[in-house]
Amino acid sequence: MESRDHIDTTLNHLFRQESGKMVAVLIKIFGIENIEMAEDVVQDALVSALETWKFRGVPDNPRAWLYKTARNKAIDVIRRKKHSKTIDFSDPQKQLLTSGYTLKATMNDFWEEDQIQDDFLAMMYACCHPDISRENQITFILKSLCGFSTKEVAKSFLTSEDTVSKRLYRTKEYFRKYKIRPEIPAQSAIVSRTSAVLSAIYLMFNEGYNSTHVDQLIREDLIGQAMSLCRSLLSGSQTRLPEVYALMALMCFHAARVDSRTTADGSLILLFDQDRTKWNPILIRSGEDYLNKASFGNALTTYHLEAAIAYQHCCAKRYEDTDWNEILGYYNILLDIAADPIVFLNRSLVILELKGPEDALKSLEKMKKNKLLEKYYLYHATLGEIHQRLSNHALSRVCYEKAIQLTQSKSEKQFLQAKITSNR
């Protein structure tokens, strides 16, 4: 009998990697109105694997085993539902599923390797339909395409399982009501539709990268899943757009630094204090490769620029070696593309490095009264830092206190409190 732990690890890994693809194929077979049916088949296959492998050991090719099991279970479902009205067999290819002469051969066709990847991508685009809210998009992607449990999704977003179930339900209802057919968008729409997919991926990544509230494992999982979804887009010939490479590069650069961002007890370490030898050179290398590949065509997206900025940080051996001029240049172009107040705030931090606190303060004054920044703790933390450097200690303290009120994160609160204490 094989060790339970080994089976669990293999299965967990496999499930994260493959369940979404199996669900995508099964949705294509059963129809978008039968998502639960697809999910049940995948779940059944997983349970079978657990039960069988416990006694016979993990097979040589566990992935193939899992796929074959799911395929056979799908055949059982089709045989059972052949005469019910739940599955729509009117499409000619699906009609062949209803006859014993053609069921198996047709079923095999649905599981051809290159089809699987396309079906998976098609589901990603369906999930990121512009009419579905961002949080519903990501909830559905994590649950159905990344093999997260409802509980894990809830943990990722600090929300209740009940809320997650409601979001899933709403998304499924939307698919059903509007008969959304998962497909890779036509050439004319690919850029705009991919942009929605990329923002969902980036949001998922940031949830793992930035949040200090969830446990380490979930955060790593979110980062890994976001990167793997992006890699899937890069594997498709229609979806391999410059901005996809750029986002991949950006995520590599960020992920390379993830271990140096926090101390063992979870408090934040600023870029200045980070141990650069802890940065992952392999990820930085991959990031460079992706960034080089991102520079075909005419597209210059925010991902390109953010990646270029992250790259500048990654290639500076010491903090003092950072090329702030180059970085400021990228921020200026970023602001040209979109007048994002957060970008403006970050740009003023670069000015602080480059030209000192007076100029930084002058730059930030243009953003006084901005409603978004007013509520953003980093805006006040930045002001606190600037005033501190200008020796306006009282003002600095007020800003830091405001920032503490605005952040939910315990480690950030501690960090800012330490700033106040040192500010005397």
Binding site: Q95, L96, T98, S99, G100, Y101, T102, K104
Partner: protein, 113 residues
């Protein structure tokens, strides 16, 4: 268009001697042929049949533990298709993959009664 029943008889003995690869090929031929009919909207449905069965005769009072016909006469499956005429349906039936196993196909129009 009219509907026709294709009664496929025989072929059982021969199919038993084929290798799994040959069987798989054969099933692909069915898929191609029926797939073509489905694409053209000519396929209504159809199934292969198990060779076991029972036969009721004498007003249902006598039950025999096997199908009425045996061997080459045994009905192995059926297909319902749409076609313009009996000749058209017969033409379609010429490509039935069952012939690879030496079956016979009887083409009968569904009575509109």
């Amino acid at each position: 268009m009219k509907e026709f029943l294709l009664i496929i008889r025989g072929g059982h003995e021969e199919s038993g001697n084929r290798s799994p690869e040959e069987m798989q090929k054969h099933m692909q031929h069915w898929q191609q042929w029926m797939g073509g009919l489905a694409e053209e909207g000519k396929l209504v449905g159809g199934q292969p049949l198990m060779s076991e069965g029972k036969t009721l005769t004498e007003r249902g009072t006598k039950i025999t533990d096997r199908p009425l016909a045996e061997g080459k006469e045994l009905v192995g499956g059926y297909l319902l298709i749409k076609a313009d005429s009996l000749d058209h349906a017969t033409n379609i039936s010429k490509d039935c993959p069952g012939f690879e196993y030496n079956c016979s196909v009887e083409v009968r129009e569904i009575s509109p009664l």
